[in-house]
């Protein structure tokens, strides 16, 4: 009996650990793998590819003649060329060590300036032809009613409409360019982020677009975990100045919208409108969230 309980407890601990690893932020993102560097997950080896996330609990194996370049959360870069097995935890130390000082950055700049010849556009025009004089019309003319380039989302109702009102399909991808097509929505005049989140299930970074949008860049959707989302919201709410109830609700909505927590902002705008139903500012602020 005691043995069975121990096994169940061990299983629970393992389940909790694996769940927490799902929820955790990535420690590194793989930038380049010249060979067959792999990460080991549950005893299985998975070849790393550009864009893969590495968690602090992961372990990686680098074979001979392989270069692996990782990007840290602070955007510094760690390059691994030597054969061996590395734990991500130990590599994390390299990220913090590689922060640059003002002096080293200055002397790097001096060295770079000394060692690079100064050319002129007149002599080498091909090197100076990055600028072009033409407008891009890669896509169409749909413009979202809300500034939805970035959306931070965990739960709650959130629909985003566009103008001109036209039923088009929406597509959700795994990456900003190319990437796997994860979801194709039915033609509609808006996108329901809550429904997308329900289909995606996993927290993480996603990219979406509507067919015919003006800006060819995909929009960023970050699905947060409950804990990190609540922490972020609490932090924002701390900055809200208390005035009247309606005003406070509006200000909260405004601050949340500024930080792209649109679903949460919508709730507070609605609250402000409920408290002062004749206020035109509250009305128009909330109306934008109505597709």
């Amino acid at each position: 009996m005691g043995n069975t309980i121990n096994k169940i407890l061990l299983l629970l601990v393992l389940v909790c650990l694996s769940l927490s690893s799902f929820a955790a932020e990535p420690a590194f993102i793989v930038f380049y793998n010249s060979g067959k560097a792999v990460k080991t997950v549950s005893g299985k080896s998975i070849i790393l590819k550009k864009g893969d996330n590495l968690l602090s609990t992961d372990q990686i194996n680098i074979p001979e003649q392989t270069q692996l370049v990782l990007v840290c959360a602070n955007f510094s870069v760690v390059q691994l060329k030597t054969k061996g097995i590395y734990t991500i935890k130990t590599l994390l130390a390299k990220c913090s060590k590689e922060t640059t000082s003002a002096s080293s950055a200055y002397f790097k700049y001096i060295w770079h300036s000394f060692s690079h010849a100064h050319t002129a556009p007149e002599k080498d025009p091909r090197a100076y032809m990055q600028t072009y004089g033409a407008a891009s019309r890669g896509r169409g003319t749909l413009i979202t009613k809300l500034n939805a380039d970035t959306i931070n989302y965990y739960n709650g109702s959130l629909s985003i409409g566009w103008l001109p009102t036209k039923a088009v399909k929406t597509e959700v991808y795994s990456a900003a360019t190319d990437g796997d097509l994860l979801i194709t929505g039915k033609p509609a005049t808006y996108i329901k982020i809550d429904s997308i989140a329900a289909q995606l299930k996993k927290s993480g970074s996603y990219f979406w677009e509507m067919q015919g949008q003006q800006n060819p860049k995909r929009k960023y959707l970050k699905l947060w975990t409950k804990a990190s989302y609540q922490t972020a919201i609490t932090k924002i709410l701390k900055g809200v100045v208390a005035t009247s109830s309606a005003e406070k609700a509006y200000l909260t909505g405004f601050m949340l919208e500024e930080r792209h927590f649109l679903g949460e902002a919508s709730k507070y705008y609605q609250k402000a409108l409920q408290l002062e139903s004749n206020n035109q500012i509250y009305k128009s602020a909330f109306a934008r969230f109505t597709p």
């Binding site: 700049y109 001096i110 300036s113 000394f114 060692s115 690079h116 010849a117 100064h118 556009p121 007149e122 002599k123 025009p125 091909r126 100076y128 032809m129 990055q130 600028t131 072009y132 004089g133 033409a134 407008a135 891009s136 019309r137 890669g138 896509r139 169409g140 003319t141 015919g212 003006q214 060819p216």
Partner: protein, 387 residues
């Protein structure tokens, strides 16, 4: 002053100035970053003052040979309809200054594809630096030209490359002229210049602009396109709309933080105006500028030596005043030449020589005295008459 002009020391001191300049020029390192003025004004050309302060080309009349159709936020079907309306009026050429990077809606795409692949008067634009994707219609387009200019990214656009021989590609504006006015195009190619300086003659208000949506809806008279060069592209509706907008020498703020002032379509229009009118920007040859620099440095050196020997108390004051007056005067001369004759004079060597002259003179004096003591070299600096 003139009595020192033909002294051997004056000539040698002048040569020493150019020797020092040569030493600086041949240093195998880049020292531009040590110069805060260079950094601050890295995107500044003093010729820009001709536009912003001397009103160069301010009174140029509207170019009625070119008509611009503003696509606004029209989609591909709209753009195809605009081109169709224009093409029906038999213009000389139609330049479509729009990048269509990917496929979109089947109707709009097929309409455009038919136009680009069948109408020999149409010229499409593409991005030369896009290595993988030069545009959805790139392959099928009969005529195409790169819309790229030459300049620092986000910098002032002063140059363009008419033709890239190795790739056999032409600039968008050059390609449009090739269809509309082959003689002018041939004249451009015969100049055989890797880069041409753009002669900006007109701001946006000196070109006829038609709203594309008005054209589709029959609100604009399409007969004015007959026998004209028509450019189809985006024209910003407000000063703060910076889509496809660039900095040009015509910007009223010639240095420092400002908004870009001209849409790409108007830069192409200026290039076309320049090619058609044959009003190119000329550059005085380098050998002539060096000869002028040497001559002026020689004159300055004679003046400096005279004051150094005969009026030493006032030497520094006179030298500095002479340097300032010379700098202002020769910059003015350069601007005047650009303003009046579309000819750019590179006065850098002259200014550098005059600025270095005083310091090199000190060095030369010490060297001449040393040579005099050691080798009996005859020099005017042995008299010791610093009055």
């Amino acid at each position: 002053m003139f009595k020192y002009l033909f002294k051997r020391d004056t000539l040698f001191a002048t040569l020493a100035v150019f020797l020092v300049m040569g030493m600086f020029a041949f240093l195998p390192i880049n020292t531009h970053f040590l110069d805060p003025i260079h950094l601050a004004l890295s995107d500044f050309d003093y010729n820009d003052l001709a536009y912003s302060k001397m009103d160069k080309n301010k009174d140029t009349p509207t170019d009625t040979n070119i008509v611009i159709v503003n696509i606004g936020y029209g989609n591909r079907q709209d753009i195809a309809a605009m081109i169709g309306k224009v093409a029906a009026q038999q213009p000389k050429a139609i330049g479509v200054d729009v990048l269509f990077n990917e496929k979109k809606d089947p109707v709009g795409d097929s309409l455009l594809l038919k136009l680009f692949s069948t109408n020999a008067k149409l010229v499409t634009a593409f991005n030369y630096t896009a290595t993988n994707n030069k545009g959805y219609f790139y392959t099928q387009s009969i005529n195409k030209g790169y819309a790229n200019f030459v300049g620092e990214e986000e910098g002032v656009i002063r140059h363009f490359t008419p033709h890239l021989e190795e790739e056999n590609l032409s600039a968008f504006a050059a390609q449009v002229v090739k269809q509309a006015d082959p003689e002018s195009y041939q004249a451009l190619i015969k100049r055989n210049k890797l880069t041409e300086t753009i002669n900006y003659t007109r701001k946006a208000d000196k070109y006829v602009v038609i709203n594309g949506m008005d054209l589709i809806n029959g609100k604009a008279d399409s007969s004015l396109f007959a026998n004209k060069i028509v450019l189809v592209g985006y024209v910003a509706s407000t000063i703060n709309d910076v889509e496809d907008k660039h900095f040009t020498p015509m910007n009223e703020k010639y240095t420092g933080k400002s908004l870009p002032d001209m849409n790409g379509i108007f830069i192409h229009a200026n290039i076309i105006s320049m090619i058609q009118s044959h009003q190119y920007i000329h550059h005085l040859p380098a050998w002539l500028m060096w000869a002028i620099a040497f001559l002026l440095c020689w004159l300055h050196m004679a003046l400096f030596i005279k004051d150094y020997l005969e009026n030493h108390i006032w030497f520094h004051l006179i030298a500095k005043i002479a340097q300032i007056i010379s700098a202002v005067f020769f910059v003015y001369l350069g601007l005047l030449s650009f303003h009046q004759f579309n000819t750019q004079m590179n006065m850098t060597a002259t200014l550098a020589a005059i600025i270095l002259a005083v310091d090199v003179l000190y060095f030369y004096e010490a060297f001449a005295i040393w040579l005099h003591k050691k080798k009996g070299f005859k020099t005017i600096f042995t008299h010791g008459k610093h009055n």
